[in-house]
Amino acid sequence: MTRQEKKFSGSALEGKHHINLTVNGQLYELAIGTGAGKVNPSDTLSFTLRETLGLTGTKVSCDSGACGGCTVIMDGRAVLSCMLLSIECDEKEITTIEGLKNPKTGELDPLQQSFIDHTAFQCGFCTPGMIMSSKALLNDNPSPTEEEVKEALSGNFCRCISHYQIVRAVMAVSGKGK
């Protein structure tokens, strides 16, 4: 088939048959399609994480990109997992709240512990998103100022008004807090 014929058959664009997703250091090879364990092209990353991989630590709140509840870290950056298609996350490295603890000892990440120590939540539904946004910031900038923390968390909403404690919890591990 010449290139021109190939284009007219519509096959110049490629559909995927499977994706490789690394979540919290573990590689998952997932087939594209319908049915149990497969990824439908319209599945969001938050759906795949929660329903296909069983990683329910990531929360879905507004499911429309406005609240930050579903934030995960993808290739080092905080992103909204409800606004990404899993099929486009092929070869991506993803960290969810489940991936922060020390895998050997089970000890919590200092940031997680700081949220507990500062009672930085009430209902807790926004917490995984808050922690993942903060973690992405700290990975990039280990000593953020309070302004930088507020800026990094500006896309995460808490309905219980725990923002003050959250900023304190992040500042406590930034090396500049207290």
């Binding site: 110049a12 664009l13 092209p41 319209s42 499911d63 609240c67 934030t71 905080a78 606004m83």
Partner: protein
């Protein structure tokens, strides 16, 4: 979200060919922040059969000065614009505008081309299927604009015709202020259109088999005083109620050049030349800037519930020209 077929694109040419073959049944996707909310809301008459991911097209994510032009690839993410030293130095209105768009998480994935192509935020147009929608309106092909008799507090105060929704793109306002042009690729080759002329009341200038590949801006020799101010109620999640981009050159206290563009007041960015002319050649005093702000809004025709936007726009024009940061 209802299902669709998903393809990755690897060249501009193949993308345009495929768009032509699917005759409006395929939809391009870059960052997807706007598209996924449209698909989830399921409020358009036609649901796309095919989604074409264009993030896989290589080489469309540059920011570079090339002789007489600054060139920005359509797939540059807003976070890269915010962090670009070149833009911060000479095109800071773009950095300021990009920084006001949505939340950090969205700026990490949203692209410049996508920001320009996003669909209107009109709450009648976007009323979701799951809540009793969709609502029919002229923009969707039948009926009339529901905002005219309805709650139009966020709608146009000028330039509306058939549809009174405003252009939601912040980047369009800043780009129009720098005389930006969009490079558009299609099966008939490449063409370019001024950013301000790209938007129509009922949509944009793209044919169904075309895509934006680049944004071209005349290179600046001096940075001048560039500003972008945006009024919103909740910064990270709300779209602009009014925005203003300005580039003002001042020599020895006298304004030597002025460009002022209003955003979120009309279906397109509005360059207010009469106001610019009032400033040029005069000392920048509060009095003159106020009269320029009045002139900028002289042509406004508010709807029943949005006259307040006129006052906000005047205040933003004044603050932008005077160099205020918020």
């Amino acid at each position: 979200m209802r299902s669709f077929t998903h393809f990755d694109a690897y060249s501009i040419e193949d993308t345009c060919t495929a768009l032509g073959q699917y005759k409006g049944r395929a939809q391009l996707k870059a960052g997807g922040s706007d598209l996924l909310s449209i698909l989830k809301g399921d409020f358009l008459p036609d649901y796309p059969e095919v989604i074409i991911n264009i993030k896989t097209i290589p080489g469309l994510d540059y920011i570079k000065e090339d002789g007489d032009f600054l060139r920005i690839g359509a797939l540059v993410r807003l976070i890269e614009m915010v962090r670009s030293p070149l833009l911060s130095h000479k095109y800071s209105v773009l950095v300021k505008a990009a920084h006001t768009v949505a939340s950090p998480q969205i700026r990490n994935v949203a692209t410049l081309g996508g920001n320009l192509c996003q669909d209107t935020r009109c709450w009648y147009y976007r009323y979701p299927r799951s809540m009793g929608g969709p609502l029919q309106c002229l923009r969707k092909g039948s009926g009339s604009c529901l905002a005219v008799k309805g709650d139009n507090r966020y709608h146009a105060i000028m330039g509306g015709k058939k549809c009174f929704a405003v252009c939601p793109s912040d980047m369009a306002v800043a780009l129009a202020c720098l005389d930006g042009r969009l490079i558009i690729a299609g099966p008939r080759g490449e063409r370019n259109v001024a950013v301000a002329d790209f938007f129509y009341p009922l949509g944009n200038d793209l044919a169904e088999d075309e895509m934006i590949t680049e944004i071209e801006i005349p290179a600046r020799r001096n940075p001048a005083q560039q500003n972008f101010l945006k009024f919103t109620l909740r910064k990270p999640i709300d779209f602009a109620i009014v925005s203003v981009a300005s580039v003002i050159s001042i020599e020895k206290g006298v304004c030597t050049d002025a460009r002022i563009v209003l955003g979120a007041v009309a279906p397109f960015p509005v360059r207010v030349r009469a106001a610019e002319e009032l400033l040029i050649g005069k000392p920048v005093s509060e009095e003159i800037v106020m009269s320029a702000a009045d002139e900028a809004l002289a042509g406004s025709k508010p709807l029943s519930k949005n006259a307040y936007k006129v006052q906000i726009a005047k205040t933003l024009v004044k603050r932008a020209v005077m160099g205020s940061t918020d």
